[in-house]
């Protein structure tokens, strides 16, 4: 808290107003509108709204289609988070050693932060392409299994998991590297004196000391794969084959903008909102982010 401050009656309001106006108009108003709409049935052109209470929610609760989208979301997010965290921890641990060429290695990994998820999706789409892609071709040399994402749901999920993980790798590595650099050298030296080295040093010293970063990244990867990967699904699989890659955010979009079921879509938005709020609260409670007075 600052002790020295300026005194002015209206200036602080003027300074903070641009941000507050944007927050009110584009965050609070739409969020309340979503909350309100979730209790209505809306005609396809939006001209008639009938109050239905919690009916939209109860319809979702019994909808097998919705259950599948929840399941797909968790498989997808779990895959992205697990694959992303293990790969990036492995790379960060290597890139934290005292060796030559570190700057090159770090840049050669961190650049992936710039990849837009949909662009990543399109490149991976071609790598997975059943007739022309490199990966099915490679696999066809060792197996006769038809590795075709257009026919097999799990291959399609794998495709979008790879695309999302690739686009998010730079982010994860940057945080792991920063975390590794905060581990005091004295702790490492003490462990080495006690005879720890290589993997045991990593398993018993580095990994536990990194757990706050790992936890933070776990939450951020869940949030990323739940909310920021819409572009991959939309540009690559369109939720298919069948609904194998229809994750919750994509289903919300389909119901709202394609099937014109606004109320149902709004109810799904509210559920997503509850999820992201709980993830953020958990994250702030268990990591030491000191943004508050």
């Amino acid at each position: 808290m600052k002790k020295s401050i300026f005194k002015n009656r209206w200036l602080p309001y003027l300074l903070i107003s641009p941000q507050i106006v944007i927050v009110l108009v584009f965050f609070f108003w739409p969020s309340f509108e979503s909350l309100r709409l979730s209790a209505f049935k809306v005609s396809p052109f939006g001209d008639r709204q009938i109050f239905v209470g919690l009916e939209n929610f109860s319809r979702l609760l019994i909808s097998a289609e919705y259950h599948r989208s929840v399941f797909h979301s968790f498989v997808f997010s779990g895959g992205v988070t697990f694959l992303g965290l293990s790969l990036s921890l492995f790379i960060a641990a290597l890139a934290n050693q005292k060796i030559r060429g570190l700057r090159f290695y770090r840049t050669a990994v961190l650049w992936t932060y710039g990849i837009a998820p949909p662009v990543s999706g399109i490149i991976w789409l071609f790598i997975f392409h059943p007739s022309y892609g490199f990966l099915p071709y490679l696999l066809s040399m060792v197996t006769t299994y038809e590795f075709n994402w257009l026919l097999k749901g799990w291959v399609a999920i794998l495709l979008v998991i790879f695309a999302a993980t690739w686009a998010h790798l730079g982010y994860n590595v940057a945080f792991f590297l920063a975390g590794l650099q905060t581990i005091p050298k004295s702790v490492m030296d003490a462990a080495k004196v006690d005879g720890a080295s290589g993997f045991s040093l990593f398993r018993w010293i580095t990994f536990p000391l990194l757990s706050p970063v790992t936890f933070f990244l776990f939450i951020m990867n869940m949030v990323f794969s739940f909310f920021e990967t819409f572009g991959i699904i939309h540009a690559v699989t369109q939720g298919g084959p069948g609904d194998a890659t229809t994750i919750m955010v994509y289903k919300t979009y389909l119901d709202g903008f394609v099937h014109m079921r606004m109320g149902l879509s709004a109810a799904q938005s509210v559920i997503l909102m509850a999820m992201v709020i709980s993830l953020t609260v958990v994250q702030f409670r268990y990591t030491e982010r000191k943004v508050f007075y």
Binding site: F26, L110, P117, V291
Partner: protein
């Protein structure tokens, strides 16, 4: 004597360890680089080359031809221009309004400060997808559909940038404020000639992170634009993917993907130092 012997016996082992680390890192870098390399190689081949079996994983001679063709086909110039406008307005806008709000929060006492702070904080929990339909309605109510204002302004609020500047201002010694007051300079003067010149590193850091955020937006531009003239590149290249009976011109798709990928990746590489700082600091 003894120590020298020990050292000699340990040295080869350490070299061997370093070699393994190098090999593993090179393997990882190749694995991570492969999709980019693959996309680039395909973008330099003719359509026939790009779909033959087995594919050649070496560049061919069609680079210029492919890039020109796809540039004209999807008006790449306009797409890149729109993406640049969106990324610049969003990143600079976020930085500007966050500097002002953080300044108000740190250097003034005013009624409703706590509420304002919380309102900005809550935006962290409201990503675009969870309020998409209603935000679209609000923007169309304002008449901003298919305009740059509609594309950028709803994305400009930023809790993380506000927190970062707030943290930074709190580290500025109080003596500087007192000195400014004694000199008779007001708060805006203090902001302009003391705080801003010292915020360079933070601004650069946030700029990279927010530029990437703006450039890589997909859902919002997809919703809010409907003319080709307003499309951004990430949305535009998705339309080059061949469907159904269209020619499998994957060489052109990859050329388009490369052009959408290169600007943000260059920003990350050229500003790597600031970007890592910005990423880590703004999440603290």
């Amino acid at each position: 004597m003894n120590g020298a012997v020990l050292n000699q016996s340990r040295k080869p082992q350490r070299d061997w360890k370093k070699l393994v680390i190098h090999l593993l890192l090179i393997l990882s870098v190749c694995l991570i680089g492969f999709p980019l390399y693959y996309g680039f190689v395909i973008s330099t081949q003719s359509m026939e080359e790009s779909i033959q079996k087995p594919q050649k994983l070496l560049p061919s001679g069609y680079l210029l031809e492919n890039y020109k063709k796809v540039w004209n086909r999807i008006q790449m110039g306009q797409l890149l221009l729109n993406s640049s406008i969106v990324a610049l307005v969003v990143s600079l806008g976020k930085i500007a309004i966050s500097i002002l709000s953080a300044f108000a929060i740190v250097y003034f006492n005013f009624r409703g400060k706590q509420i304002a702070f919380w309102m900005i904080f809550v935006t962290l929990m409201l990503p675009v997808p969870v309020r998409i339909i209603s935000t679209y309605q609000v923007v169309s109510y304002l008449g901003w559909v298919d305009t740059y204002a509609g594309l950028t302004i709803p994305l400009i609020a930023s809790a993380t940038a506000t927190f970062l500047f707030r943290q930074f201002y709190l580290t500025i010694p109080d003596e500087l404020v007192d000195a400014a007051k004694i000199d008779g300079s007001g708060p805006l003067r203090f902001l302009w000639s003391i705080l801003l010149p010292n915020s360079g590193a933070n601004m650069a850091a946030l700029f990279v992170v927010m530029f990437i955020y703006g450039w890589n937006q997909y859902l919002w531009p997809l919703m809010i634009t409907n003319s080709d003239k307003m499309k951004v590149v990430v949305v535009g290249i998705a339309s080059t993917v061949p469907v159904g009976t269209q020619l499998p011109e994957w060489n052109l798709v990859m050329a388009a993907a490369m052009m959408a990928l290169i600007p943000p990746v260059l920003v990350v590489i050229l500003m790597q130092r600031w970007f890592v700082h910005g990423l880590i600091e703004s999440e603290k």
